[in-house]
């Protein structure tokens, strides 16, 4: 199949970018990133610079890949990261627009590569349980209700890709931040630090320049791990409880 691509090209954070048209021959079994590989080989052979994009595991778990495809973070398939999107979902002659995540807190490094270091700083502001190596009690000393553990797990599956931010009209990082808060506050291990955790993480999120949440729900729809927006409700509850106590 022949595809008409329009790909965002930008040389550096302070340079102007633009959509550049390319044509590429794809095969339905290819992944979206393999199609981008084909384009890049074509560009290199033609003496041009390839399109830079982040990718690593190509199994939908590392959270590196981040393309806005025809306006949708990670493209049209629900619960699917860009690397797991296959070309069988496109047909000959389709036009496909590929852009980076767009958010003030995620500056473009080059082409489709953005800087997501803000996410690390949000985790560093309390997204952990403080337990020094070697100080833990026996693992079965802390029984945890199975359904509670499962619920915590649903929030723990966040891959930190940033699609929630890219999808949000306010570029809010609420779903990302809330997922970690929800994961740890549902577990007894996270209890001791739950107040400081939520206060600090929310503060850091705001400091990084992410917008507020206005319950739009676009984050949930774009999340490749389908993390429910309920996480944000949990975060708010935790925040209020912590702020008032």
């Amino acid at each position: 199949m022949k595809l008409h691509l329009k790909v965002w090209r930008q040389n550096g954070p302070h340079e102007e970018g633009k959509l550049v048209p390319y044509q590429v021959e794809a095969n339905p079994h290819m992944s979206f990133l393999e199609m981008m590989d084909v384009l890049n080989e074509q560009l290199i052979k033609a003496g041009e610079d390839p399109v830079e994009f982040d990718h690593d595991c190509r199994e939908g778990i590392c959270g590196s890949c981040n393309m806005v495809i025809n306006g949708v973070p990670h493209g049209p398939l629900k619960g699917t990261a860009t690397c797991q999107l296959h070309m069988r979902h496109y047909k000959d002659g389709d036009t496909v627009v590929v852009e980076p995540w767009r958010a003030e807190a995620f500056p473009v490094i080059r082409d489709l590569v953005v800087d997501r270091a803000a996410f690390d700083r949000i985790i560093a502001a309390g997204g952990y349980v403080s337990v020094d190596t070697g100080s833990a009690p026996d693992a079965n000393a802390i029984p945890i209700e199975k359904n509670k553990a499962e619920m915590a797990f649903d929030y723990a599956t966040c891959i930190g890709c940033g699609a929630c931010v890219a999808a949000c009209p306010n570029a809010s990082a609420s779903l990302f931040t809330a997922s970690k808060i929800a994961h740890l506050s549902l577990l007894p291990q996270g209890n001791a630090e739950r107040k400081t955790r939520v206060l600090r993480m929310v503060e850091q999120m705001e400091k990084e320049g992410f917008g507020d949440c206005s319950n739009h729900g676009a984050c949930e729809a774009a999340c490749p791990k389908e993390i429910p927006i309920d996480a944000i409700a949990i975060m708010r509850r935790e925040y209020v409880k912590a702020a008032l106590s």
Binding site: N27, G47, E59, G63, S64, T133, G134, D138
Partner: protein
């Protein structure tokens, strides 16, 4: 056959007490002095992140480096199945001894006894630590931890977090790391690639990195360097490794004097999604936990091209169950992989390409119901569906072996220190614990054992026993090594040939897979060595790398890594050629039993092959560390 250079420094005393003996007698660093030492940790997967966090908690200053944009993306994240520990929570007969014994046997008696025993002992602490961090392991209704049997074990000792165990463990370690970033004890430097090691007065004292955003070279000084940079499976081009996984940091250390041990030991994982075309960029593993409920089969006749549902039981060959009645579909990885290859070589492979076997869940779904299967493997089934467009609840999965893990790596002693003093190697990057074949759910265990529980003690011992004269970035050794690194990069850009990095990598991968892959023979290995040499010389004459050195340039990064793979591939073939026996993942066609199983030669090859670099134009030198088994009796592995 003992080697005067290699000393594994195994502590005295009986096997069960060696580690405790070490802990009781190793030197300690005064808490107030720890902050005077800077430790460089390269790589932030399970081994690196856990080491960086633990050392920072103890008070050392840590600088941690990774090539990804965040420490959380390291390839450990992709591990699916689980992590072993000898907790014996189910009273099904497990013990530290059994986990040790299974690991030594599974490694086909090519691992170091003392290291493996320590690993089994530490396994229990790892689970405690991770649970305390909030890692959401699977639980029973009573609230206690759940276990499953996994990859060739006859006890249920595998702890798991759905099919995302690696992800959850890595996030636990990453969060511990970020906690220490927050505390100001770890400086985290993402998007930095280690390009070389700086040795001053015989000790590892620093590294040269390239900032992958700006292309600038950076000099980092420390009192020790911890290499936690993973395995080298991507030498095969197609593997289950993440695209950025590479051997460069380890290879640079090899060239600075660290010995490379058992490079030919690679693990081919039996349950991966088969290759579908030339454009394919990587392979996807389906956790072998699937073999707990899936049955592997091919048609009895190679002419049988009916769709699987129309092939009656009588015309199917459940070859693993037939050949290995007591282990069945749960035989170790190397055995399962070789058997898949042999039925495909017989012409009985399935699917469009004929290079696959079925993994069938129909029986399990009938017996347990679709819901149970979905709860156990839902995310894996979804992933399979996404990639292949087929529904494994209705038609059997097609699977085929793929390169997955490398047991070989830089040689280390019991302290995890390489032959370069002050250079420690942790996790998959070292060679030490898995022998010639790694058992399922043992990689996560080893990475975290090394990082959380071993290095803190052995590094302390090294620091306490050595003095560290002041060294800074302007030391001439740093300037010289930085110059080497930048010249290499400039050389790659200056070739301006016709072929791309991808084309060279793919060609190298094909040589490796065909001749240094699942089964090997003398003639094939000899020709592989020549072909690799030829390809390498073409690479340096005809490579085209686009772009500039001083900007974000992924193609340039990959070019440097493929250049190193082109050297490593040859060493792997040399090692495989020299090892005239079959053991674990190393199968030499000339050495097999009548039943076609790996045939070891313990008299001549019960050693670790540690290769020393001797210059770019001369052959590497082999040093042997004899493997002495005090407690385990060497037997022919049998899973019948």
């Amino acid at each position: 056959m003992s080697d005067t250079i290699l000393n594994a420094h195994i502590p005295d005393g009986p096997l069960e007490g060696k580690w405790q003996n070490y802990l009781d007698t190793c030197k300690l660093v005064n808490p107030n002095n720890k902050r005077k030492h800077t430790i460089l940790v390269v790589g932030t997967g399970l081994a690196g992140a856990s080491a960086a966090a633990s050392l920072a908690e103890l008070g050392y200053n840590v600088k941690a480096f990774c090539i990804q944009d965040s420490a959380r993306r390291a390839h450990s994240i992709a591990a699916q199945g689980g992590i072993n520990a000898a907790k014996n929570y189910h009273d099904d007969g497990d013990s530290v001894w059994r986990l040790f014994y299974d690991t030594v046997k599974g490694g086909d008696y090519r691992a170091r006894e003392a290291n493996v025993y320590r690993l089994a002992q530490i396994s229990n602490n790892i689970i405690d630590q991770c649970v305390a961090q909030g890692v959401p392991f699977a639980r029973e209704y009573g609230g206690l931890l759940s276990n499953r049997s996994f990859g060739g074990a006859q006890v249920s000792r595998t702890f798991y977090a759905r099919g995302q165990t690696g992800q959850q463990l890595l996030l636990g370690a990453y969060q511990a790391l970020e906690k220490m970033v927050d505390a100001g004890k770890v400086e985290m430097l993402p998007r930095q690639e280690m390009l070389d090691l700086v040795v001053v007065d015989g000790k590892a004292r620093g590294i040269i990195t390239r900032n992958l955003v700006t292309g600038e070279y950076e000099r980092h000084v420390g009192d020790a360097v911890l290499l936690c940079t993973g395995g080298y499976g991507n030498v095969f081009y197609l593997s289950t490794n993440a695209k950025n996984s590479n051997v460069t940091a380890a290879w640079r250390c090899y060239k600075r004097g660290a010995f490379f041990a058992n490079p030919c030991y690679t693990q081919i994982h039996p349950t991966c999604i088969p290759v579908s075309g030339d454009y394919q960029s990587k392979l996807t593993l389906m956790s072998e936990s699937l073999r707990n409920d899936g049955r592997v089969w091919v048609p009895k006749s190679g002419d049988d091209k009916r769709p699987p549902a129309q092939i009656p039981e009588a015309d199917r060959d459940y070859y693993l169950e037939r050949k290995y009645p007591s282990f069945g579909n749960l035989v170790p990885r190397d055995v399962a992989s070789r058997n898949a290859k042999s039925v495909v070589d017989e012409g009985r492979g399935v699917g469009e390409t004929g290079v696959a076997v079925y993994l069938d869940f129909a029986d399990a779904i009938n017996r347990l119901g679709k819901d149970t299967i979905e709860a156990r493997y839902g995310n894996l089934f979804d992933m399979y569906m996404r990639i292949t467009g087929e529904n494994p609840y209705e038609v059997p999965m097609r699977i085929y072996p793929a390169v997955h893990y490398t047991m070989g790596g830089l040689w280390v002693d019991y302290n995890l220190m390489s032959t370069v003093p002050g250079l420690f190697v942790l996790g998959e990057a070292n060679f030490s614990d898995h022998g010639a074949n790694r058992l399922g759910a043992s990689a996560l265990m080893q990475g975290l054992s090394d990082g959380y529980f071993v290095i803190s003690h052995t590094l302390g011992n090294y620091i306490a026993n050595n003095s560290f004269p002041e060294v800074n970035e302007s030391n001439e050794a740093f300037a010289a090594v930085e110059n080497d690194a930048s010249s290499r990069i400039n050389k790659l850009l200056a070739i301006k040939g016709e072929k791309t990095v991808l084309e060279f990598h793919r060609e190298l991968g094909k040589i490796m897979w065909d001749k240094v892959g699942m089964s090997r023979n003398k003639e094939g290995l000899q020709s592989a060595i020549q072909e690799i040499q030829k390809l390498r010389s073409e690479f340096w004459q005809n490579l085209r790398v686009p772009g500039e050195p001083n900007s974000y340039n992924k193609n340039l990064e990959f070019a440097g890594r493929v250049a190193d793979f082109l050297e490593l591939g040859e060493l792997m073939a040399i090692d495989a050629l020299k090892r005239e026996e079959s053991c674990g993942g190393h199968f030499r066609e000339e050495y097999q039993t009548e039943e076609g199983e790996a045939l070891r030669n313990d008299d001549e090859f019960s050693y670790v092959a540690a290769w020393a670099h001797s210059g770019d134009d001369s052959s590497p030198n082999l040093h042997k560390e004899p493997l002495e088994f005090d407690r385990v009796k060497l037997t022919q592995r049998s899973y019948k």
